[in-house]
Symmetry: C3
Subunit: 369 residues, 3 copies
Amino acid sequence: MVNIKKKLRGINGGSMFSQKLRNLDWKKFQALPTHKRKEYFAKDGRIFDVLFSQQFSRATLDLLYRIINKVRHIHKTKDGAKWLSSLLSTKKAMLYFTQPSTRTYLSFVTACQTLGIQTADVRSSQTSSEMKGETFEDTIQTFSSYFDVIIMRNPHEGHAEKASFVLNNTLRPIPIINAGSGKDQHPTQALLDIYTLQKSFSDVGGLDNKTIMMVGDLKRGRTVHSLSYLLTNYNKMKIILSSPEQFRMGTEITEFLKINNIELLETTEFKKFLPDADAVYMTRIQDEHDTNNESSSYDKKKYTIDQEALKDIKPTSFILHPLPRIFEIKREVDKDPRAIYWRQVRNGMWARVALLIYLFRLEEKIFDR
Amino acid sequence: MVNIKKKLRGINGGSMFSQKLRNLDWKKFQALPTHKRKEYFAKDGRIFDVLFSQQFSRATLDLLYRIINKVRHIHKTKDGAKWLSSLLSTKKAMLYFTQPSTRTYLSFVTACQTLGIQTADVRSSQTSSEMKGETFEDTIQTFSSYFDVIIMRNPHEGHAEKASFVLNNTLRPIPIINAGSGKDQHPTQALLDIYTLQKSFSDVGGLDNKTIMMVGDLKRGRTVHSLSYLLTNYNKMKIILSSPEQFRMGTEITEFLKINNIELLETTEFKKFLPDADAVYMTRIQDEHDTNNESSSYDKKKYTIDQEALKDIKPTSFILHPLPRIFEIKREVDKDPRAIYWRQVRNGMWARVALLIYLFRLEEKIFDR
Amino acid sequence: MVNIKKKLRGINGGSMFSQKLRNLDWKKFQALPTHKRKEYFAKDGRIFDVLFSQQFSRATLDLLYRIINKVRHIHKTKDGAKWLSSLLSTKKAMLYFTQPSTRTYLSFVTACQTLGIQTADVRSSQTSSEMKGETFEDTIQTFSSYFDVIIMRNPHEGHAEKASFVLNNTLRPIPIINAGSGKDQHPTQALLDIYTLQKSFSDVGGLDNKTIMMVGDLKRGRTVHSLSYLLTNYNKMKIILSSPEQFRMGTEITEFLKINNIELLETTEFKKFLPDADAVYMTRIQDEHDTNNESSSYDKKKYTIDQEALKDIKPTSFILHPLPRIFEIKREVDKDPRAIYWRQVRNGMWARVALLIYLFRLEEKIFDR
């Protein structure tokens, strides 16, 4: 654990962050524009804390893509798998998951295990010292005393970023990975989505020049938010946003897409635009965020892929879903070769393996093997 | 993780299960006779999913017996223990325990650790995606994306079997071990019981030709159900079933025992038959399954082993209990050399170690050492 | 697991404990004086179960101090860290934490990981067999069947000691570490406190001859209880106890301090005595133990270190806190070089690493490297 600190300091020749930002308080920091905050969470031109999708450049996405492919290849042999599991065996990861999760939690745990990283978790704020009245700041700083990376999921917006902000103001900053905080972003889900799309389109020139249709609760679904930001890294993209009026994507994101030259279509139609999509990204209604039973008026039949809807989707197209699904895709669709959401699940683990390799700066070791 | 799939397919030359069964739905499958369902959960003449005791033949029980003895021997030296812990170090096990458990949970965790298998767990359905409305099928398929084996305990009958059924209909089936589901069966408990009995009787010809007395809540105690099925693999067995009238063993089991040539005696007496038993298997009242306070009429004094009752038990006999015990065996009995329930606890871990070795087909490697 | 038992028996030439103590029951045992109970939890002149601070002699404290320093040194290189993580890789630790905890739990988990010890945990009595009516004795004995050491935190006084008492009366005793039980003691916290003090005073002759001021809820704070006992191992110590009248340190401890030649001052003053202290040990109000809202009358402003109070503390002095803190030390104080409570947190892991090395008798191996 000592090593990381030393390394960071060594690279930096002193304190990690500019003195100017160090003296900001959290409220003022939050008000900074994204590109300023991005800098604060970077180091040596690399992402240090993984918090929001806007941190990822095309170069980083392409690097992660290469790492995933290489790691999957290495893992295929028993010797390769053993070698991977010794790579980070003296490192420790904290899984701080105070919001229910299975998929993300398990994919991070197994990603760590694949690399030999030891894990511990706090999955309920009821078993932690926060119950005794400890501040969030002290809790996070405590974790940083024992671990080399913190992976956190939290019901509150911005809490992962706040945790990073707190640690970057201590003598012992360690990377934080946002595994979903509130309804704002879920960057590692977007990474696996991008990988799955790139891989699926690998015979037809990759993601560039494609039409991606996103469907469902676009307002509160954090996976589509994070994915939208990432898609701006690709060329000549079209995005179709299909949702009921009250669940439209927020304007801060649609504006961002337009500024970044994405061709954008917003519609309440669903079936009508299916034939145009190279990929259909379905999402569930986030009714846990309802404040006034908004979801009850949602027309479930309309925004659903069943055998009938399959006919409108191109044979070369793909169907994705971050899961869990409720009604949006019928189970009968699973056997259709265009359905790749179960592949997404498995890619989720590999994307997180690659991200950890990147954060611990081991990609050269991977490529050299 | 990729390897298992490949291996299974390789062995199979294609899909794992016959197309005929693939097209059955779960309800129809459930109605099939046991020997048909047994086939479905087998592969290459071996058990693939461990769901109910009827899957175990005498040959498999004898093989597991030999594996346990060998593993215990290997583990005695530090080198041996290290070797064992590297055997399956690239494998991952999911512990999906949504019913309270200590003993079974911990014995599986430590069994995995003994073999180097990495584990993760979901121990409350409240921290999982089922809360968000995901189906059981999708949850199980998600687990299968990250792990190489799923060990599950569930409050509902047949859920482990349903999970296996679901996965065997996907492209990536992995073994499922039933660690207790509802009040029907608990096959790995029965395996450790059989091992403990065989080992204890090793100087007197093993289990064949013995009289086993089972006592307590035979109606709802899943350990005695699973054990009863296993005992039909041995020759010239007598079974005495001692319980209050309302807690008699179900007829589907007593019929099975009779068909399989077990000499059977059902009685509400307890002390009267103690002298006949070569082993007395005590169980607790499963009052968590009460629907109408049935357990309140249970005569606790009658079905209890204390110093007094010890006098009626043969000096060469053994006393077993799956634990936890409530009142059925007084703690003063623990020091009696015939009391072997604490040995059962330790054997529980070894039996699970052996089962995992068997499922990953490593027994030859064990015997070769 | 078998090995430990054998080793213990081998060393002992038979049963571990004298027959005389074996026949005592728990109630009678509890009434024995501390030095008698100490003997019962020792073996071969070494501590076997870590239960209360009075078990630690100056020699043992000095040995642990040396182990910590050496381990931290070894861990600095990647090779050293790898070597440490293989030291106890065939051992298993049970974390039985039925009282909320973050810091202690995580520091033990990461301490185990640092040495390669595999862990499993039960963190809620609701997921365990105690729910089904099993006795505490049976639960503990079950754990001892699977693990090589039990680390336990419990809301009830004396429960860790009772667990040790139970196991020492079985054929398979394993060490128990008290990670906090009720409001009585928290010996491993005291060990890290002592280490931190010794280390901080290393340029000025160590802990001997120093004045330690303890502040806050001295009545119910188990860390100050355990620390007080340990401080009697050092020469010419002065202790200042600063607390509101109703939260004074219990007389069983103050009497013990006096008998052991500690110069003692009890006061309700705070700021007045700050200039006398070589170390100020702050603690929080343990209001979870309130029976009659006692804490509401606590004068929070008075017993707090802020910028103002810092001026009264000597430049060579140190500020400690076991954490979590609520209001007792303002966050602005963290940047003061005399504030060493975050160092305490990190030392907590190292102290537990050292303790585990000691319990498994590996210190010579550490010093030889």
